[in-house]
């Protein structure tokens, strides 16, 4: 099916009657997914937003429960799962949601906060027509123009979007858009990432044997230990739990945390199993490229390139992957 670009506003308006619609836009100079007010401009000119869409499902600060102390403790769960639609999300970010689904919905426990939001979220992906210089999703096994995890997949053909529903949620969207949709439309060819990275399943296995390798000392040296890479990463999901206390009552919240911070793994008493940047950078890269593969059978890096773009020290995960690939050839 096809949707005329001139009908896009109307299409979103239809959705926003039922749900909060998030669109890529520029807020105070920062490109991010923001709640669409029916008029603000929708910025599809960028390949990727600066901030990832993960906070729609996993807010940077999320209230979990409120409590009242005293002779009796009262605990009240805070549930906030509005119906939401995210529009214009790129295939790499859709894959990232898939990664978070695995973390929060699988392996013994289901995370209720995430599950509630996820269930009420409809994902409308718009494929890329071009790629950025830091994009490498096709090296990570994705396609810039197709997001298998999306509910609705849209591709830009110039004047129209080719629209396809992948799930039941997607079909409902198509149903709502019925008056606007036209038959036909051919999906355009996918653009190719200019940046090619030598990623392969073997790299993950190779890495799992490189824990003691001198490479970590070297690649971690420029790291300044900030959380930029983890906070702009669409898949980084680590969190901390803390309370916001006002004398005898307050709320318990969880918030993004970063494995790059010194207090992340420090235990009561001061012992820290990952005391320096070597250990922390190793943990992050290993988590992205090896540990996660071992546990969930997919990589935790979607190839969006945000970390490479934003790192203050200009560290680059793609250069690291290629280094590891070379390491392999040397040892072979």
């Amino acid at each position: 099916m096809q949707l005329d670009k001139s009908d896009l506003q109307e299409a979103l308006r239809i959705l926003s009657a039922e749900a909060g619609v998030f669109v890529p836009s520029v807020v105070e100079g920062v490109s991010r997914f923001a709640l669409w007010d029916g008029e603000s401009s929708i910025d599809l000119s960028r390949v990727n937003t600066e901030l990832p869409p993960k906070d729609i499902l996993f807010p940077q600060t999320e209230k979990m429960y409120s409590y009242k102390m005293g002779k009796n403790i009262e605990i009240k769960e805070i549930i906030d799962n509005p119906k939401q639609v995210v529009f214009g999300i790129r295939p790499c970010d859709v894959k990232s949601i898939g990664c978070m689904d695995k973390v929060f919905l699988e392996k013994t426990y289901v995370d209720s906060f995430y599950a509630g939001k996820r269930e009420n979220l409809t994902v409308i992906s718009v494929g890329c027509t071009q790629t950025d210089r830091t994009c490498f999703c096709d090296s990570m096994g994705l396609s810039p123009s197709d997001a298998p995890g999306a509910d609705v997949m849209m591709n830009d053909t110039g004047d129209t979007f080719v629209v396809e529903a992948y799930t039941d949620k997607g079909k409902q969207v198509m149903e709502a858009w019925k008056p606007l949709l036209k038959k036909g439309g051919k999906k355009p060819a996918a653009p190719e990432c200019t940046l090619k990275v030598k990623m392969s399943p073997e790299i993950s296995v190779k890495l799992s044997k490189m824990f003691e390798h001198p490479i970590w000392e070297e690649v971690s040296r420029p790291c300044i230990g900030c959380a930029t890479c983890t906070y702009v990463c669409p898949t980084c999901y680590c969190f901390d739990m803390n309370s916001d206390n006002h004398s005898s009552e307050g709320t318990k919240f969880r918030c993004w945390d970063s494995c790059m911070f010194s207090d992340y793994s420090r235990m009561a008493g001061g012992h820290n199993p990952r005391p320096g940047k070597k250990e922390r950078v190793r943990n992050r890269y290993m988590h992205k490229l090896s540990y996660f593969n071992e546990r969930y059978e997919t990589s935790l890096c979607a190839g969006c390139g945000r970390c490479a773009d934003k790192c203050p020290a200009h560290m680059d995960i793609t250069a690291f992957i290629d280094r590891v690939a070379e390491e392999e050839m040397e040892n072979a």
Binding site: V30, R221, P222, C226, T228, N242, D244, C255, P312
Partner: protein
């Protein structure tokens, strides 16, 4: 920027670096190296003479390097660091703050005519203020008029706004802050072994990300480094959300200059920070 001169400087840098590594003057040299992208360089740690040729010198050598010396406080041999004007002031900052020993460093002075960075516009020290060896000839400094006109121009503009406008401006900025602490970690004046902001259990700072907490973080940091800021602009460069962080610290510096006389940090090798000393003749405006 005189290209041939800078290309020559790069060659001289590599030659000097190789010599220093060969004769064992330094254990390794911290400089800039290439990345995948032409317009980005990354910190490079060259330990072997043959690695000297990987050092680059161009308009994209943008990262401040001095703070990496904190990773190696007790080096076996001297650490060679390439220092531009701002980096050399960062070294003075760290030495003044008793974070590193000057004897442990070998400073390779790199006269710098400005990088792809807006902060370089009003630079007052293009040539390193301290070095052990200078690569090539010094470059021409900005005139004092230009540097001082540029220095607090933005602050003066901003002060003209009404208090509510100013508050709104900053509130919107801090709404953007994601508290990645890149500004803190890159800053040569932020050298606390453990930052107050990481001590969540103590209660200085909540970990939740909201306007109030980010405001407290932003102002605390501004105040804490304000009298020691060397105006290198790294905080602003690294901020992934584009907050004009320098506008806070420069306000502090402007007031210090107004109240206590001319003051530029990191220019002299030994100078206590303004808030670390006092003068009996300080203005007494509190009654």
């Amino acid at each position: 920027m005189n290209d041939t001169l800078e290309i020559k400087r790069e060659a001289q840098l590599r030659e000097t670096a190789r010599r220093l590594l060969e004769d064992g003057t330094v254990g390794y040299i911290i400089g800039w190296g290439t990345t995948r992208f032409e317009d980005k360089t990354a910190p490079l740690f060259a330990a072997k003479p043959e690695e000297a040729d990987r050092l680059v010198w161009n308009e994209y050598c943008i990262n401040s390097l001095a703070k990496y010396s904190l990773d190696d406080k007790y080096p076996e041999k001297k650490i060679g660091i390439c220092v531009r004007g701002c980096d050399s002031r960062a070294v003075n900052r760290l030495v003044n703050d008793k974070q590193i020993e000057r004897e442990n460093l070998f400073l390779i002075g790199m006269p710098c005519s400005g990088k792809e960075n807006s902060v370089c516009e009003g630079c007052s020290h293009k040539n390193p203020v301290v070095y052990d060896i200078l690569i090539g000839e010094p470059v021409e400094e900005n005139t004092e008029e230009k540097a001082s006109a540029e220095r607090f121009r933005e602050i003066e503009e901003f002060e003209k706004m009404s208090p509510d406008e100013r508050y709104e401006f900053w509130a919107k900025q801090y709404d953007k802050c994601i508290r990645c602490y890149a500004c803190r970690n890159i800053c040569p004046a932020c050298s606390c072994k453990e930052c107050y902001a990481d001590q969540y259990m103590v209660g200085w700072q909540g970990k939740q990300n909201n306007r109030a907490e980010s405001q407290v973080y932003g102002l605390t940091r501004a105040y804490h480094v304000g009298d020691r800021c060397i105006e290198c602009g790294e905080c602003e460069r690294v901020c992934p959300m584009g907050l004009p962080i320098m506008r806070q610290t420069k306000k502090m510096l402007k007031d210090i200059n107004d109240l206590f006389g001319n003051y530029e940090c990191g220019v002299e090798s030994e100078r206590a920070p303004v808030l670390g000393e006092y003068d009996l003749t300080d203005r007494d405006e509190f009654m």
